[in-house]
Amino acid sequence: MASVLGRYGRKWSLGCVSYHKNYLPRFSTVAHSAVPSEPIQQQQAGRSMNLYSAINQALHIALESDSRSYVFGEDVGFGGVFRCTTGLAERFGKHRVFNTPLCEQGIVGFAIGLAAMDNRAVAEIQFADYIFPAFDQIVNEAAKFRYRSGGQFNCGGLTIRAPYGAVGHGGHYHSQSPEAFFCHVPGIKVVIPRSPSQAKGLLLSSIRDQNPVVFFEPKWLYRLSVEEVPEHDYMLPLSEAEVIREGSDITLVGWGAQLSIMEQACIEAEKEGISCELIDLKTLIPWDKETVEASVSKTGRLLVSHEAPITGGFGAEISASIVERCFLRLEAPVSRVCGLDTPFPLVFEPFYMPNKNKILDAIRSTVNY
């Protein structure tokens, strides 16, 4: 039956991703980001671990390096429903790692207050689907605090972590990808990692960043994605996209768990002679327009893919911005292969999802436009 088709393609391990640093110099749109970057190609011995272990390690490091940092949320004390917070309460004590009652609005409001007093608050929302009661706090309080106080106050120490995305059987309320709602809010950053080593570096950067960050973790990859992760404290720069696969015929842009699907499509397209360039956006706002622009200037074609519904999804912003910048260079309309415009379905998940074949079809039709 339909559910058998599932997402078996997702077993792809992202362990063989290589890092390319040959793209144009950085962002000009970002105000300031005092985040030093340590390239992780250092010969530091890594340990093989999955996504939740990498995030766990990042949290351990974050709490260790700053005594005024706190991790809290529903059920984080025993390790959390996805084990991301195991060992934290035992190591740092119940005053720094604690459970909250079931109230997302309360959790985020509380976190903003803590951050406003120069602490680092890492609030966990158990599933991104539950973040909506806290939406008012994030949009109206966290994002605008610095602006409306003329720089006197800020909640830069705030980081909100939430597992997002489809998982094969999540249904309506355990599978949503709400990143687009938050990308519409100036004042916060939205960061989405694609793999364990990325997650650790990006999470540490997000926690230490001077701006409030909403950090979405692809729950599908918590156990499935395994790779070598360096054990030391390292940070990856925010607002820098990364070209994870070089190509010359078409540029594909994505983030999070969707990248593994796109990578499979790229490999299949390669067999047909289409050379695909794959970019991981990493930070959705403020996003690295220069890297994507440089890539599209090279290839002349763009395809964006995400799990969230197509209308109003972040792919629309990317498409509009790139068309503004690369209109004369584009050889074909920008293609968006995304979730359908329906609520996230239960049994129909395989039809809803932007899977490898849909992406492949789109690659072909864009290249043959």
Binding site: S3, F78, G106, S335, V337, T342, F348
Partner: protein, 398 residues
């Protein structure tokens, strides 16, 4: 009076098999057959009600043998159904989420005994038994759990989203606490309709800490809405014990200016009495909070073993001392309304019914792929996607 009215409005499907069992019992035993009498029987609840800003109802509950046996049958059906759902989940026929209600059956059965189908019930995701109580069939339940067309939500909702419009069952909600303001809205509509019906909005001890609950409570009290907020306190919000999540675990007092009543949720007669009292109360005085002190044997959901945050001794202790079905069994046997064997026969029959429903549900087909696009907006504003790159979306307007 009210009771005979109640026993006649109950669906007859539970009573028909009793006559057959009665005949068999009469032939095989010396005892008189299963009682189907409607002679009133007064039974005291084991613990008194604890009131908050109101006069508690009396501990003496009027019932009758037929009703007690109906309670037994209904609760046993629910118990059997939940256990069957457990096995189906482990066999991967039910996927996604499955939150089981066994242990808490007395709450929905007692509630149904005191209200009618025009009253509305709205609850969160632990809704299989509530749906059954509202008149749902086992076939609809198992079909929906397995995501088939024969399900009550056409297979599109799943375990957490059961609805039954004809009986005023408004579901079935995934986001905890969100159903309470909705319930207050239902009560608001009922007040406009002036039809003397009420709404029961159920939520758990975890959801009791949601802000929207207090917002809804304030509005309901201000406008005197016929809403009864029922906190099904099974003492654990997922894995968090109530004392670790709530400053005041006396959920019936949380309403402050709204009266409340604490009820032994494992005693079906106490629940019935409380709901009857509550219905009369809200039609005159505005909202009331009922706290049902109950317990769930399974974990929060099928992925929760249920033993990491509580001891197995605690679970088996509650099972031995407070199990709702055992309580009714003791009452029935104690008042000589049926024999052990008859009750066992009822249970066997229920087992068979459940197995048949499962077999039939398995035959139901999965929903058509085109159903993915239906019911997004009203009346089939479906979207079709076609084209090599799936980019073209075409809408078919009604």
């Amino acid at each position: 009076m009210a009771l005979s009215h109640l026993s006649s409005t109950r669906s007859n499907r539970f009573l028909r098999p009793l006559a057959a069992a009665a005949a068999a019992a009469a032939a095989s035993s010396l005892c008189r057959p299963i009682s189907t009498s409607t002679e009133p029987l007064v039974i005291e609840t084991s613990i008194p009600f604890t009131p908050h800003k109101c006069e508690p109802p009396s501990r003496s509950v009027e019932t009758n043998p037929q009703e007690l046996l109906t309670f037994f049958r209904d609760m046993a059906t629910m118990r059997r159904m939940e256990i069957a759902a457990d096995s189906l989940y482990k066999a991967k026929l039910i996927r996604g989420f499955c939150h089981l209600y066994d242990g808490q059956e007395a709450v929905c059965v007692g509630m149904e005994a005191s209200i009618n189908k025009k009253d509305c019930i709205i609850t969160a995701y632990r809704d299989h038994c509530t749906f059954l109580g509202r008149g749902g069939t086992l076939l609809e339940i198992f079909s929906e759990l397995m995501g088939r067309q024969g399900g009550c939500s056409k297979g599109k909702g799943g375990s957490m989203h059961f609805y039954k419009k004809e009986s005023g069952f408004y579901g079935g909600h995934g986001i905890v606490g969100a159903q309470v303001p909705l319930g207050c809205g239902l009560a608001f509509a009922q007040k406009y309709n002036k039809d003397e019906n009420v709404t029961f909005a159920l939520y758990g001890d975890g959801a009791a800490n949601q802000g929207q609950l207090f917002e809804a409570l304030n509005i309901s009290a201000l406008w005197d809405l016929p809403i009864i907020l029922v906190c099904e306190n099974n003492h654990y919000g997922m894995g968090t014990a109530e004392w670790r999540a709530a400053k005041s675990p006396s959920y019936y007092k949380r309403g402050d200016y709204v009266p409340g009543l604490k009820v032994d949720g494992m005693d079906v007669l106490a629940v019935k009495q409380a709901c009857k009292f509550a219905k009369e109360h809200v039609l005159k005085n505005g909202p009331i909070i009922l706290e049902m002190d109950t317990y769930r044997y399974h974990g929060h959901s099928m992925s929760d073993p249920g033993s990491t945050y509580r001891t197995r001794d605690e679970i088996s202790g509650v099972r031995q001392e407070r199990d709702p079905i055992e309580r009714v069994r003791k009452l029935v046997l104690g008042h000589d309304l049926a024999t052990e064997k008859e009750l066992k026969d009822i249970e066997k029959e229920i087992r068979k019914e459940v197995d048949e429903a499962i077999a039939k549900a398995k035959e139901s087909p999965m929903p058509e792929p085109s159903e993915l696009f239906t019911n997004v907006y009203v009346k089939g504003f479906g979207t079709e996607s076609f084209g090599a790159d799936r980019k073209e979306l075409r809408a078919t307007l009604p």
